[in-house]
């Protein structure tokens, strides 16, 4: 009995805590509201929007995370939360974040639409300014000029030395992504 107690204290049972990431998008006051001025997603060019991306690591070990930001319109392929597949579109900006277990990080994401051009009924968004730096893109808004800013969480899988979108045991894959709709009014 004593020997058993001794052995179990030296070799404890493996931790069975759930392993996951949390990804949230916060508004101007770092809360889940006030994403747009007057809560109106119809924004005019040069109007700065202040968001924060909150990432939390509960993967039971340190993680190297990449937040890929993509600008999509409604006709493009979005990430699939069920199949855990990312959007095939290119990211316009990547944020690298390193998190110890249980650590969280808040990334400021201040942006505005800078360059655009009108083509018949659609608007071609050519440039965003993110955190003061211009980001080139070519996304065309269709049917109401709607765009989506999509935030995908990718983590560095050190066994394969590559970034992966999904985590967890097959077939119970999990993934984290977020999206916000906006219209550029001209």
């Amino acid at each position: 009995m004593t020997t058993f107690a001794l052995l179990t204290s030296i070799y404890p049972y493996p931790e069975t805590a759930e392993r996951f990431f949390a990804l949230s998008l916060l508004g101007k006051e770092k809360t889940a509201e006030n994403y747009y001025p007057n809560d109106d997603p119809n924004i005019s060019p040069l109007e700065e929007i202040q968001w924060y991306v909150l990432v939390q690591n509960f993967m039971q070990e340190s993680q190297y995370v990449l937040i890929k930001v993509k600008v999509l319109n409604s006709t493009m392929t979005f990430p699939d939360a069920v199949a855990c597949t990312p959007s095939p579109e290119n990211a316009v900006i990547n944020f690298s974040v390193f998190l110890a277990n249980g650590q969280s990080s808040i990334i400021p994401f201040f942006w505005h639409a800078a360059n655009y051009s009108l083509h018949q009924e659609s608007l071609l968004l050519e440039r965003l300014v993110v955190n003061g730096t211009p980001v080139t893109l070519r996304t065309r808004g269709v049917n109401g000029l709607s765009f989506y800013l999509v935030f995908e969480l990718w983590y560095f899988y050190s066994d394969w030395m590559e970034f992966r979108f999904e985590w967890g045991p097959d077939p119970e894959f999990r993934c984290a992504w977020n999206q916000m709709l906006f219209n550029v009014t001209v």
Partner: protein, 167 residues
């Protein structure tokens, strides 16, 4: 004749300056992209070192925070590169690389210290366990002996004694 020669020289000068600018820009771009790749690898190496230090039980929170700052420099370096600001991209990428290198070294040191600490802690734990075990065995033996003695005494007290009934 003179004006033709002057025109020719002017055109030659213009052409050479344009091509030189192109070569310089290309060279800056190459340097910047190489620095960005180097910084990216440096961050991955640093992260692997941080993971190893963490497995030894080290607190790596401050290291991950510094790596995030280095990652932010790398992000900005990429953005500057895309906008053609190669010098700014190069500076930021080099800063990111150096930060990654520093974190990697510190993580390796932290890993070594944590390894020694973990060994010492394990030795103390083992000593504690053996000591506890010895105390438990000692108390058990002592208890058993006391119990046994008392039990025998009780049995002896219960033993019927022969009495002289003839008188």
């Amino acid at each position: 004749m003179g004006s033709k020669l002057l025109c020719f020289l002017l055109l030659l000068a213009l052409f050479s300056s344009t091509s030189l600018t192109g070569v310089c820009a290309s060279s800056s771009a190459d340097s910047a992209i190489a620095a960005i790749d180097r910084a990216r690898s440096s961050l991955i190496d640093a992260y692997i070192s941080v993971l190893e230090a963490e497995k030894e039980g080290a607190d790596v929170t401050s290291l991950t925070r510094r790596l995030t700052e280095a990652g932010s420099d790398l992000t900005n370096a990429c953005l500057f590169f895309e906008t053609g600001s190669y010098d700014a991209a190069l500076t930021l990428a080099e800063s990111s690389y150096e930060a990654g290198q520093k974190v990697e070294t510190e993580a390796a040191d932290l890993k070594a210290v944590s390894h020694v600490n973990a060994k010492i802690l394990f030795s103390f734990q083992m000593l504690g366990y053996v000591g506890t075990l010895a105390v438990i065995v000692f108390v058990a033996v002592l208890g058993w002996r006391t119990f046994k003695e008392r039990y025998y005494q009780k049995i002896l007290e219960m033993k019927p004694e022969a009495t002289d009934t003839e008188s």
